[in-house]
């Protein structure tokens, strides 16, 4: 008998460690021979702690499990949810980037290889740098951190940039609320990120990499650090990558609690040991990045998707998706939802299907009022926009963004004026202070929304104008995109902005 329990921090947060302790005690007491394997998360967070038991007929799922259920679980008297991979939420997915996550022991390289790991890297090692970059370009992969910039074009710029030392920097500063895909893949399948960074290094001629990982993720930091040590020991990292004579090594660096360091130039400053203020572009980080040298800065999911592209081929990957949004996107379903978790699917699924069918509506059972897509800088979508297909251009066309594909659902008790105020307040707390529209604008934004709340109708025009200035005049997405949640709340939910209602009457 094999028993699988996730070691992902979302599982631990809801009691997985207690369940494992109870399982060990129960097994010992009953004298049952069984192996407990700690995996990453299957992404069905509403079922965590999820226990999978394989008695020879496949992995049967049970969840959410409490320590009190364990005795019955081992006797076989607890009803199962069926085979894990046949649970509708899971069966509907297209798992490419997250294929191994939840299946394997994250820190077992032999597990990793048994499930397709390192096939992509071995293929890349036989290719020229130009061919590697061409493969990524052909896959249509775009930056999964939020900006959606074509990864192949970025890599090509770094490949062609002159310089004796280049770098691969992985942006793991996943600060957006409603997003946890980076955390989940780093805790659940860290070698895929390492493999992706090595391939990136081969493609652009970089032999050194850094993962800038936020300090709010201590579990992910621990797993990644351990994975790097294991990879080095196995010759996947080091002076002679898999015996190829090529060199690549990397380090995990911890952030220090600044949201703005998720912006790539601010991240580079932070990595260099400076204040995490944003740099003006140009120069692009691709040409003058870490320590002024050519640098690829990619999000975790972008890099973690590279191995499957090389394993299955660019054409295979590009076959999924919609228009210019190719491949799959791990949608993170969060907030007030019946079924929260990670849902990897080809681009193109309408928002409403994700909210109503996949997520099953709200956890509170009340009607869905708004969905914020793309983190604290993303727009609030009301039900009238639920037919928008999940894609970069489609969301842009609706005055929003998919960002890092986090989706936070709110029921009808949400006060959208408060949410708009929070967006400005958050921007004020987290602004790096470099540019005026963001530093001053966010503070004035909070004050102006307070004026609206007090019934000052004239303040609506001021807020609209301020948002325009922040959008056009800010150096980076923090000040530039804070207007998205603010204006989408104001325009989509005018009834929550009292003075707007009064002005209209």
């Amino acid at each position: 008998m094999k028993i699988y329990v996730s070691r992902d921090s979302a599982a631990k947060a809801v009691g997985a460690e207690r369940v494992v302790a109870a399982l060990r005690a129960g097994l010992a007491e009953a004298g049952i021979e069984a192996e407990i394997i700690r995996t990453g998360s299957r992404g069905m967070v509403w079922l965590e702690p999820l226990v999978e038991i394989d008695r020879g007929q496949g992995r049967m799922a049970y969840g959410p499990v409490t320590p009190a259920d364990v005795a019955g679980l081992l006797e076989g008297s607890v009803a199962s949810l069926g085979l894990t991979e046949e649970i509708p939420f899971f069966a509907r997915q297209t798992r490419l980037t997250f294929a191994r996550c939840g299946v394997t022991d994250p820190l077992s390289l032999s597990d990793y290889e048994a499930h397709g790991g390192l096939v992509g890297l071995r293929r890349a090692l036989a290719m020229s740098a130009e061919e590697i970059v061409a493969e990524v370009t052909a896959s249509g992969l775009r930056g999964r951190g939020g900006a959606g910039f074509p990864t192949g074009i970025k890599w090509n710029t770094v490949r062609q940039a002159p310089g004796p030392q280049k770098y691969i920097v992985c942006n793991a500063d996943e600060g957006d609320s409603g997003t946890f895909a980076d955390r989940m893949i780093m805790e659940g399948d860290p070698f895929t990120l390492i493999e992706g960074m090595v391939i990136a290094g081969l493609g652009v001629g970089a032999d050194r990499g850094y993962v800038y990982l936020r300090s709010e993720y201590p579990d992910a930091i621990a797993v990644m650090r351990e994975a790097v040590v294991l990879a080095r020991g196995a010759g996947l990292l080091g002076a002679d990558v898999l015996g190829s004579g090529r060199s690549f090594d990397m380090e995990i660096r911890s952030g220090a609690g600044a949201y703005v360091c998720g912006e790539e130039t601010s991240l580079l400053n932070s990595l260099e040991g400076k204040r995490g203020v944003v740099r003006a572009k140009p120069p692009l980080p691709a040409l003058e990045g870490f320590l002024g040298r050519p640098t690829v800065v990619n999000n975790v999911i972008s890099l973690a998707t590279v191995p499957v592209i090389f394993e299955r081929g660019a054409a295979f990957y590009a076959d999924f998706g919609l228009g210019r949004s190719k491949g799959t996107i791990p949608v993170q379903i969060a907030g007030n939802v019946a079924r929260g978790g990670l849902f990897e699917t080809a681009f193109g699924m309408p928002l409403g299907e994700l909210v109503d069918e996949v997520a099953g509506g709200t956890a509170s059972g009340r009607p869905v009022k708004a969905v914020q897509i793309g983190g604290p800088l993303g727009a609030y979508f009301g039900r009238e926009k639920f037919d928008t297909p999940f894609g970069y251009e489609d969301f842009d066309g609706q005055g929003g963004l998919i960002g890092h594909a986090g989706m936070v659902v709110f029921d009808d008790s949400a006060d959208m004026l408060k949410m708009a105020r929070f967006a400005m307040e958050f921007c004020a707390v987290e602004s790096c202070g470099k540019c005026t529209p963001c530093r001053i604008g966010a503070v004035r934004g909070v004050e102006t929304i307070d004026r609206i709340a007090r019934g000052d109708a004239a303040a609506v025009e001021v807020l609209t104008d301020l948002c325009e200035v922040m959008k056009e005049g800010s150096l980076c997405a923090l000040g530039g995109f804070t207007p998205y949640p603010v204006m989408s709340a104001l325009r989509g939910f005018p009834e929550d902005f009292a003075s707007v209602r009064e002005a209209a009457e």
Partner: protein
């Protein structure tokens, strides 16, 4: 004022990281891990070791939310205030927790046992509301859950 570690205690911590590219954040994290805060006495030593001005070092320390100028309470409770947690009532929960402890955000209880801080996202958005106590995460918490978690930690 809280006791400051000596120069002899500070120097080796700094020197352990000097071979890195961009060593300042690793140095500050390590100092805080050892002493519980960034000692004022370390500023000049860091500046000298990295060929920076003391003002530059202070600028970096003050930029990041993580770095403390004084030790926190024995335990640190971080309550998530981001949108996903708000969608399931985290603001009300946080206000009640703070009121019960008689604290404001960033405050420490009179017995020095607990500091409460806001955090903007722990990546536990599908099992919100979430919190972290001394680096250990908890999800789906409610009023009774917070009390139980604090009791178990002996607060």
């Amino acid at each position: 004022m809280h006791p400051q570690p000596s120069d002899q205690e500070i120097r080796p911590v700094i020197e352990a990281h000097l071979h890195l590219e961009g060593p300042l954040l690793p140095i500050l994290h390590d100092l805080q891990a050892r002493f519980g805060f960034i000692p004022d006495a370390a500023r000049g030593v860091i500046a000298e070791a990295l060929n920076l001005s003391v003002a530059e070092v202070v600028g970096v320390i003050s930029f990041y939310h993580d770095f403390r100028k004084a030790p926190a309470g024995q335990h640190v409770l971080k309550l998530c205030r981001a949108e996903a947690c708000q969608s399931v009532g985290s603001e009300g929960l946080a206000q009640r927790v703070l009121a019960n402890l008689g604290l404001e955000w960033h405050g420490t209880t009179a017995d020095g046992k607990l500091t409460v801080e806001p955090v903007y996202c722990l990546g536990l958005c599908a099992c919100a509301p979430a919190l972290m106590l001394d680096g250990v995460v908890h999800g789906r918490v409610d009023d009774a859950g917070v009390v139980a978690i604090l009791e178990e930690a002996g607060v």
